[in-house]
Point group: C3
Chain length 328, copies 3
Amino acid sequence: MKKKNRLQLDDNGKLKHFLTIEGLNRQMLIDILDTAESFTSVTEQNIKKVPLLRGKTIVNLFFEASTRTRTTFELAAKRLSADVLNINIQASATAKGETLLDMLRNFEAMHCDMFVVRHADSGAAHFIAQHAAPHISVINAGDGQHAHPTQAMLDMFTIRREKGEFHRLNVAIVGDIRHSRVARSQIHALSMLGVEDIRIIAPKTLIPTEPDTFGVHVYHDLREGLRDVDVVIMLRLQKERMSGGSLPSEHEYFQLYGLTEEKLALAKPDVIVMHPGPVNRGVEIDSAVADGPRSVILQQVSHGIAVRMAVMSMAMQSHLRDAPGGQR
Amino acid sequence: MKKKNRLQLDDNGKLKHFLTIEGLNRQMLIDILDTAESFTSVTEQNIKKVPLLRGKTIVNLFFEASTRTRTTFELAAKRLSADVLNINIQASATAKGETLLDMLRNFEAMHCDMFVVRHADSGAAHFIAQHAAPHISVINAGDGQHAHPTQAMLDMFTIRREKGEFHRLNVAIVGDIRHSRVARSQIHALSMLGVEDIRIIAPKTLIPTEPDTFGVHVYHDLREGLRDVDVVIMLRLQKERMSGGSLPSEHEYFQLYGLTEEKLALAKPDVIVMHPGPVNRGVEIDSAVADGPRSVILQQVSHGIAVRMAVMSMAMQSHLRDAPGGQR
Amino acid sequence: MKKKNRLQLDDNGKLKHFLTIEGLNRQMLIDILDTAESFTSVTEQNIKKVPLLRGKTIVNLFFEASTRTRTTFELAAKRLSADVLNINIQASATAKGETLLDMLRNFEAMHCDMFVVRHADSGAAHFIAQHAAPHISVINAGDGQHAHPTQAMLDMFTIRREKGEFHRLNVAIVGDIRHSRVARSQIHALSMLGVEDIRIIAPKTLIPTEPDTFGVHVYHDLREGLRDVDVVIMLRLQKERMSGGSLPSEHEYFQLYGLTEEKLALAKPDVIVMHPGPVNRGVEIDSAVADGPRSVILQQVSHGIAVRMAVMSMAMQSHLRDAPGGQR
């Protein structure tokens, strides 16, 4: 924890890398939410651009393909007026046998300023941040089953916009908690922001082996778990898991853990329904709920741009402060 | 017709989507040509950029690969100072089983402003326009065998630049009319702009089943059809058709329907030769003609940028007018 | 030589295309180095952008995939405020049977200003420059085994920065000289800039068949060749060559021609070690040397951006001068 804290923050305690929710403190999360709030007006105005990162070069280092996530970071960067390089690593230099570190050194030498990293291995973004030059900021855009902190922060932003305060909320996360970097980051953020009743709802095979370390309440029955919640977060079911034997059929899963209007009626009347997308309609969630009046799924997408603009600009501020001729 | 009209125009009768020539009226086509005229100077000046769409996000949604068409839209957008996202759908989210509508909703939530759609299915751009949020404009960059309206308009622009007036012209379109979205859009545009003598020249297997509904004259003999024409538009022969049995060999096709200098001599002395590209040299057209003094094929390409800038900026104007805080 | 000279220079003797070091003169190389010097401050300042090529369109025409080289040109272009189109030719129009010349004509008609060409065939960039319209500049980003002149110039820039003067230096190039476009361009540049002692060090199978035409000294023994050199340039060993039988095993190659600290001790104490990247660690160079105090490999990468900005802006200046309404 200490070490991660040190890695993510600069000497003034400001955000330098954004790798995981762990190791940050409540105030930092609130700073991110407040900064994102100031950017929502940018994304809604006619000229959706601010010159904050003009002349900066942001590299999307995607070791794992994800058009959707890459697009949100690319849009956020362009709306901050940064130059963006999209690097798909499978198709790139590693084919020539270049090591990861040599590749990083090269982008640093080209005076790039920020790496947005997506990787199938847990810890990849940390590794890159540990080995990056001092003038580089690293943003974790999802690493293995470890963390997806910008997703968690856009979820927190959505909850705060809809519900105002965190500490009296009951929040349920439903689905494959065990393998989900999104859930892991959400639980840390919810806990840090003061949510007292965090529930995870899943079959036993999809619950983390040591869930109590998170201080969450475990439910195996969806109806029971949904009772009186203010927020329900559905996770995307990775269909690949199905064949692994750890799950019943899609149909059976939907019967037990799929969110329908009838089950949602057990939650508070003003419950909001969230999902990181893309939605598997009829698997983890019924279309009537996904498109229904309680769904804030598309608001999450909108807020994703503002939150990523916030994180990118905050991390770059740290970098400017540290630079030899900083604060120019 | 009525319905399509309503879909393409906003409440003030201005262009909102650009999906097909049908349903528009003569004045709208002339507005597009006049607007394009004003953009030709931009593409010819030293700094080929105007700030008209600064801060706007244009998404090239290409469900069918076409580097050439995508490039012209990308250049047009960049010269209007817009931000461009290139999304290749095969490689993208549909791999994760996301529905088309969910994908659209996501781009809308990211505050994108315009979709440029290329799709192998006829009607795809209409479908997307019908289901898009009110703040989105849709431009059809080619849908199946249905329409390719920006190609038709750049052709009209080229004809007007070369010939001045439309109504006394004899225009021949030669080749696979039946399967050509380009021909379909051209015939509508030529007819709407007052061309009285529109001829289609092709073997019987490549004539549309109900050609007379277009009010065009059908020829099966190239020499006969070319007599005294002012404009000849050659279509690209899709080589895939060859194997389908609806066509003779390339060599035989060239003998009968390939445009040579000798055949072109039957047309008016100041005839212009057009082709949407890429050209199959020695199949539908002889190199001596494609590169000869009557060819305006490369002018068409140049005008394509100005016409696309015109359509994009006009559609975006409608959007600005309709926006809650429009005309800011 | 004369002809190449004419092709690369405009009527005023200024750089128009940058295809190869041959045919240029010493002063032109020095102009490039001096211009690059002025751009190093741009790449090091906070807002790494100058408006020099705003509104210009630069097309990266890559017939051979190279993310690394493409990235450096893309960054250089963006930092000059140009618009960049990345065209991967395999995936593009040639699939539709379009000829190379038709493709060029199209980009020209779209008012593109510069082609950056990478091609597996020697002479491809020359061919394109010969056939390009007068308003187009062509930059060779590597053609077959022929030339890679921007790489050579960034190497010269690095040597000048580290050593000041050229004419008293001893420079050794080690590795597969025979097949290396990088070596070919380096030897021409070193010679033109006045380096008297140019050495090439390689097994006989990797020495060009007529090396003496270059006026270089040939060594087959690495230790002997390294004696008292100021600069050692290691080439990347193409592993594909191994299986061709012209080379021993990687292990054996490293024993004989791999650069280690022990062998490097034979050179001058202030020797600098260069490599065009990506490095094959443990094949042509030991990691201790590649990452050691004498290595300037990453400086080369940094300088690559400034040198490419220099070449691009100089070639575009020529173009502006020649334009009908030039110097606007």
